[in-house]
Amino acid sequence: MFLAATLSIMTVMLLALIRAFAGPGLFDRILAVNMFGTKTVLLVAVLSVLGGQPTFIDVAVVYVLINFISIVAVLRFFEFGRREDEAEEGR
Amino acid sequence: MMSAIFANLPALQVILPLLFAPICFLLRKRGAAWLLAFCVSLCTFAVSIALFMQVSAAGPLSYAMGGWDPPWGIEYRVDSFNAPFLVLLSLMFCVTLAFSYKSVEKEIVQPRHALFYSAFMLCVAGLLGIVITGDAFNVFVFLEISSLSSYILISFGKDRRALTAAFQYLIMGTIGATFLLIGIGFIYMMTGTLNMADLAVRLPSVMDTHTVRAAFAFIIVGMSIKVALFPLHVWLPNAYGYAPSAASVFLAATSTKVSLYVLIRFTFTVFGAGFAFGAMPLQPILLVLAVTAVFVGSLSAIFQTNIKHVLAYSSVAQIGYMVIGFALASHAGLSAGILHMFNHAVMKGCLFLVAGCVFYRFRSARIEDFRGLGKTMPWTMGAFVVGGLGLIGMPLTAGFVSKWYLIMAALDHGFVGFLIIAAVLAGSLLAVAYVWRIVEVAYFQAPDEVHENGKEAPFILLVPAWFMALLTLYIGIDPSLVVGAAESAALSLLGSTP
């Protein structure tokens, strides 16, 4: 059971990773990276509960926060880039 | 109270500049920041002198940080090899600060002065920390403090090329530091300890493994980058050339020496000369590289147009001499190398100070700017001539003493020794060429309009320059003090080999 959970998450991670490398567009990559991050968190949580490592759960919490914030940062970066483009075109 | 201070001298040596750097960072007034830095530098100098006295009177000192005994905690260790280095470093710290009051005012915009002094103090603290520590990993940490702050110092330079120089230095420096980290990791893996003395005890039993050999190679290569040994010297000329004058004075005089110190420390104290020169082909490699460095450095120096670049390339060459001494691995060679490290610090400090004076007047330091300076700025040029003669190795200057010892050491090595002597002599001839080029411009060419009304550099800039020049002469005339220190340093290095 434990194995099944871990394995399924691992599979998803692998698929997401491939999408992140191959992804045609930038947004696909971001999406895949996001998904990868979520799955890492899940994996850590699973390992922590089922593997009997209570300390790992702290790490999982940090991962999930970091993941969210980096997604926000990336997207804000895009918006910023767009505004800069506009500023440049307006010139 | 006094005894408490004396007991904690090794800690104070580093802590003083380290802790006052952030305070300095907050000071808004330029004068205040400088004054604070200068006071700290005087204290540091006093501490280092006291340490030197203690060590020469009572032998090596050991100080346990945090009260934990050495293999577990971090140890500070002062012996007759690094005590003179501490003195040298804090001396340069004082001299450069005295110089920087005026120079920085001119070269760096006002709001950043406090930042400059703060970075400068961090840099000094980092270098002192590297020298004094007896823990391999601690070397890495302080190496990073000093290198980060020296990148900052270099990037303060006005020219935009200062930025690329700093970036290049950063990349190279970090590669070097990471190599050092890998090397330390390997030896840690084999021995399980990070303390240098403990390493020296535990290494011989695993000496024959591939891992230790590779570790040695990594440490040597990593530090060679920092030392700017010949093929890895590309960062140096630009970094010194475009840094603000005060920064280049200090960095040129000390930073590569400290890296060389680490190199020597690891080779002799940690690995032991027997391993370094017996099991590894260190000697031929270093000798060849060093001799090439002498030639390449000197030749490049001849073709530079900017005086700071001339001096920087000449540094590459002079580093070659030091490495020759160190690669000979005999008592005489080692003491010659160490001697030259001191003498070169003094001479190069003097020359860069002069370059800073000229830069202060004309906002550039190309060779053309020296036209007629022999008349308009006689004192400045006087100091330059003294320093230049030292570089060439004329008798009665410091350079002569160390080259003499180097040649004496080489004589013990038969045919190779003769080749080395030839290289040293040829290098001196090349040095004559590049120094003469500047002197000729200064004394035998008439100043053009721009430089005609140039006047003597301010007194406060001349004092440090002449101080260093006089020091050069003093060492040349009466070398007993420095030679004694260098010899006992070499003795302690070779004596501590297992």
Partner: protein, 107 residues
């Protein structure tokens, strides 16, 4: 009782795992970014929720399950938000969804 909890939790975890795999396949098979996002985000939220729920049941009433609950809460907040802004920014940056009548023109 404990067997009952075990069964439920394992069912949750398995369902979650299954959903995750589905989502990942969706990430591969769907034609354009928006459908992929759809596949990924929906399964993601539910999958995470289910798995953590299962884990909480496994862990019992401890500090651990409290932290897991917190994790679940953060997930419930962040995952949809992330998908939301992702879609929004993508749309604003001019990435158009593939419509029915112009098949194959993706990205």
């Amino acid at each position: 009782m404990s067997l009952f909890i075990d069964i439920i939790s394992w069912a949750c975890i398995l369902c979650g795992g299954f959903l995750g795999v589905t989502g990942a396949i969706g990430l591969f098979r769907f034609p354009d970014f928006y459908t992929r996002l759809h596949a990924a985000s929906i399964t993601d939220t539910l999958c995470a929720g289910l798995i953590i729920l299962g884990l909480i049941l496994q862990a019992g009433f401890t500090l651990m399950s409290l932290k897991l609950l917190m994790l679940l809460g953060i997930f419930a907040y962040t995952a949809p938000t992330a998908s939301h802004i992702l879609a929004k920014t993508a749309f604003k940056c001019g990435l158009k969804p593939v419509l029915y009548d112009q098949k194959g023109g993706g990205s």
